[in-house]
């Protein structure tokens, strides 16, 4: 089993900021829009280097989304930046009509997703965003796991033609994926091969899944750990191949159980290869204020919750 090490932790939103700057240097059509959260989204470096390509829209997210759709007409590639909550639920109709249905090349970049936003509480801790966005026809949904992967994903979506939802967050996470990775939209990343159980994780839960794999190894359970950074399109081949080998699955995500990665995997497996499945996710509940690590514990989103779910699912094989 591969041991992933790290020397540094960083927030995934900083990976977005770095990726946006690099994408803008590569392609003069990349433009950025932000709704009064430039610092929070780490868009400052982009703004400083390309002030004429940065559009401060103030606290008016609906206007930002439809404006971004309009900006594509004439060849621009708009990246919108605000919190995940204000990138999705607040502006769902604007995204649905002006971006998704109109098939506009807009990149909806969403920070502070999930419980790890922490102290600001449930008003800001969107846990439904993946579900809302994956339901929109044609929308790509990506939730990378660390700084390097978020940066690589940002560069990759600039090259991709079509609407994308890129979800990232606030807490500092171990940086364990390669700086020079070639991010392929829709392609799962095998982190550790195993024979007894498949663990499919996305976003911040990927590191927890890796750690859970080591705990399980000590317990004599050989877990396969896969990073599903793209929830839509889902890498069905990778998932089906893995579960055929292991015969059971645990999914892990910082999102509602309804509508998240686990829901997508359940749909796939029910249709193609019915397999025992357990989901590590928020169970039909809003979050609350608190230190991120304590919230993750309280709402059952830690490595030990993954371990418990593995034990449960293996009994069902």
């Amino acid at each position: 089993m591969k041991k992933y090490t790290y020397t540094e932790t960083k927030d995934t939103r900083s990976g977005f900021g770095a990726g946006l700057l690099e994408a803008a240097r590569k392609n003069p059509n990349v433009v950025g829009l932000c709704a009064d959260l430039t610092g929070s989204l780490k868009m400052n470096a982009f703004e400083n280097e390309f002030p004429e390509r940065f559009f401060q829209v103030g606290i008016s997210e609906a206007n930002m989304m439809s404006m971004a759709a309009g900006m594509t007409i004439g060849g621009k590639i708009p990246f919108t930046g605000t919190f995940a909550n204000f990138s999705t639920s607040r502006v769902y109709d604007q995204i649905r009509q002006s971006i998704a249905y109109s098939n506009k090349n807009v990149k909806i970049c969403a920070s502070h997703a999930g419980l790890t936003l922490g102290e600001d509480g449930a008003t800001h801790q969107v846990l439904e965003d993946i579900g809302m966005m994956k339901m929109l026809p044609g929308m790509v949904v990506i939730n990378p796991c660390d700084y390097n992967q978020t940066k690589a994903a940002t560069l990759a979506i600039a090259e991709y033609e079509g609407p994308v939802y890129l979800r990232f967050g606030r807490p500092k996470m171990p940086i364990f994926t390669p700086a020079d990775q070639d991010f392929k939209i829709g392609e799962a990343v095998m982190l550790n091969e195993g024979a007894d159980v498949t663990i499919l994780a996305t976003g911040h839960l990927v590191w927890e899944a890796i750690e859970a794999g080591h705990i399980l190894a000590d317990m004599g359970i050989d877990a396969e750990v896969i990073n599903i950074h793209t929830i839509k399109p889902l890498d069905a081949d990778a998932i089906l191949k893995s579960v055929k080998k292991t015969g059971c699955v645990v999914t892990a995500e910082e999102h509602q159980m309804n509508g998240g990665l686990g829901d997508s995997v359940a749909q796939l497996l029910a249709r193609k290869n019915p397999t025992p499945l357990e989901m590590v996710a928020v169970n039909d509940s809003f979050g609350e204020s608190g230190v991120p690590a304590l919230l993750m514990e309280k709402y059952g989103l830690t490595r030990s919750d993954i371990v418990k779910s593995v034990e449960a699912v293996m009994k069902r094989k």
Binding site: F55, G58, S66, M67, Q97, S98, N103
Partner: protein
């Protein structure tokens, strides 16, 4: 450049197209479409520089965005009569497998449509975005948009208006179709919007008021005047007073024909009032 009489002939044909399209499906929105016919004909046959061979990016062209997408019949007729697609395709309006959806969309690839609209209040933001891109591209053409008056009850318009003036989006001409009607009654009854001239002025627009939006010469003149006011640091707004249902006597001035189709007898009456000038589709 067309003269007013030629434009008027096109208007008459477009009005025939509108009532025939709506009648054929027993669905659609004739009232607002008829009221905005002079405006759209003026825009596409006189004011705008545009290319019916249609390219989505529209670089070097004036662009138009219809925010109140329910008046799709007038939009489709004017696009077809301008040469964006064959007028025969108007017969497919609202039917299955058609590019002429109930509300305009890019989804089926209809030439001339650059954004989906129908869910109200989004078009001004879209137009502002397209206008910003024109500036980035060094493209000095103008972005036009049309909005219903009832549509202004959607708050997003005012977000877009605030942005447009704060950021000096002065290559933008937003026209408001002031017909004073919405589904549940007059705009004053449903949600009195007060003094819209004062509101747009306060939001930083250069505002023109045209009291007769169904007088072709006046509409053409208002658009020319609006265009002359672009490039001066302010977005431009035309408050265009129109009459819902204009050109069909029994529909005129009433909200009842917002989204109701004429029956056979009513169609015959409407057609009798609008001469066939360019051959029916």
């Amino acid at each position: 450049m067309a003269n007013t009489q030629e434009l008027q002939q096109t208007v008459s044909q477009v009005r025939r197209d509108i009532v025939r399209m709506v009648h054929a499906n027993n669905s659609g929105h004739p009232g607002g479409s008829l009221g905005c016919t002079e405006f759209l004909v003026a825009l596409y046959f006189e004011t705008m520089k545009h290319n019916p061979s249609f390219d989505m990016d529209g670089k070097g062209e004036d662009l138009f965005f219809l925010s109140n997408g329910h008046i799709s019949p007038v939009f489709y007729s004017v696009l077809a009569r301008s040469g964006y697609f064959d007028v025969a395709e108007l017969a497919t309006f609202r039917k299955i497998d058609s590019r002429l959806q109930g509300h305009p969309t890019t989804h089926e690839g209809l030439p001339g449509v650059r954004i989906a609209s129908g869910s109200l209040g989004q078009g001004m933001s879209v137009a502002v975005g397209a206008a910003q891109t024109k500036k980035l591209n060094g493209d000095d053409r103008i972005v036009y948009s049309l909005h219903g008056d009832g549509e202004l009850q959607e708050g997003q318009n005012w977000e877009a208006a605030m942005y447009a003036s704060a950021k000096k989006v002065d290559n933008l001409i937003c026209t408001i179709d002031l017909n004073g009607q919405q589904i549940d009654g007059s705009t004053d009854e449903v949600m009195d919007m007060g003094n819209l001239e004062a509101k747009f002025t306060a939001f930083g627009f250069d505002v023109l008021v045209e009291k007769d939006g169904n007088d072709m010469a006046k509409v053409v003149a208002a658009l020319a005047e609006a265009k002359s006011r672009t490039g001066k640091g302010k977005p431009v707004c035309i408050l265009l007073h129109t009459e819902m249902g204009h050109g069909v006597d029994y529909m005129m001035g009433s909200h009842k024909w917002h989204g109701v189709a004429p029956n056979d007898e009513e169609l015959a009456s409407a057609l009798a009032q609008n001469e066939e000038t360019l051959a029916d589709y």
